[in-house]
Symmetry: C2
Subunit: 193 residues, 2 copies
């Protein structure tokens, strides 16, 4: 099979696959559905992905890029005073950015569940998520910001579930303002001096 | 349509539906798949559920029962000294019980994602999850155990994501012992006196 090297087209197809995943679930992710979502001729996706497994794996890689931290924002943070308040700001920005990519984050949850059925996808997603977490720990503990590795781990888990709740069952949070919850999580994760 | 009142049979069918959800995802949850998983004659599920929507909603209700706290364990805890260590014990028990019902918890995550597509299911799950959370807050703050409502909220979110990680991408936690993470979460969520 000839794999075309049109990177932009490939990225557009993977982004279309993310839309399909979020809208239809993992079982709905087929070459045909990707072609339709991307508005390309039937058969196009099969030129870009060796198999359905390959499609899942490429989506796993792309999600990482879409949801990862943006260097510019992190640099801005490096200029801020190194206080717990700066961490609140940083985490609030991160949560807002993730929520803004609702489709990407829902697709990631679909991939997590599909990973229980696909060992190759599980290995790829594990590497991605682990690298993100280790990177966050290294960056945070090297930044001079308050908080230790445990703070980063606790924030990773609590904010992940908070975002999933907001995107799937938002009314569970009725009466809780999202920003206030992020602040509370940071203040507990990073004990005051 | 006649709805049979055989409660045991209904529960068995709903439990079979939970197996299907965890194994195949939400799109795989059909009457036919439920009949097969339950080992009953084709057409049985259609006598117990008015529609696929009804099936999803009944699964949502049953998950609550399967994953909810067990009174006996909570009573035992009420006898323990009311210390932060008792909370560590209680949370560890809860996490172990949820992990032991791997299928039930994975099915709940499938339902969460399906709830983004089904308003009726979303309303039912929201009511269930919210009632659980409010119940946990009321029970904890009335128990004399250390920790406030914010502690319970932070533990709810952080432990939820921890369990999902353990069930979907367990190797992300390599080098972190589950029990040690639960302890760390409790110790941050409930500041020392």
């Amino acid at each position: 099979m000839v794999r075309k090297r049109n990177t932009e087209r490939r990225t557009a197809l993977v982004d279309a696959a993310i839309e399909v995943l979020a809208a239809e679930g993992a079982r709905g992710l087929t070459f045909r559905a990707v072609d339709e979502a991307a508005g390309v001729p039937k058969g196009t996706a099969s030129n870009y992905f060796a198999s359905r497994e390959d499609l899942f794996n490429q989506v796993g890689g792309r999600i990482h890029t879409r949801l990862g931290p943006e260097p510019a924002e992190l640099s801005a943070n490096m200029l801020a005073p190194r206080t717990r308040e700066a961490v609140v700001w940083l985490m609030t920005e991160m949560v807002q950015r993730i929520i803004a990519d609702r489709t990407g984050y829902l697709a990631l949850q679909e991939l997590r569940l599909e990973a229980t059925r696909r060992p190759e996808l599980r290995a790829a997603l594990t590497a991605t998520v682990r690298a993100n977490l280790d990177g966050n720990i290294a960056q945070h503990t090297g930044s001079g910001l308050p908080g230790d590795a445990d703070s980063v781990v606790l924030l990773y888990f609590s904010l992940t579930a908070l975002v999933v709740e907001h995107l799937t069952l938002p009314d569970v949070l009725d009466g809780h303002e999202l920003g206030e919850l992020v602040r509370m999580f940071v203040e507990r994760a990073i004990p005051a001096d």
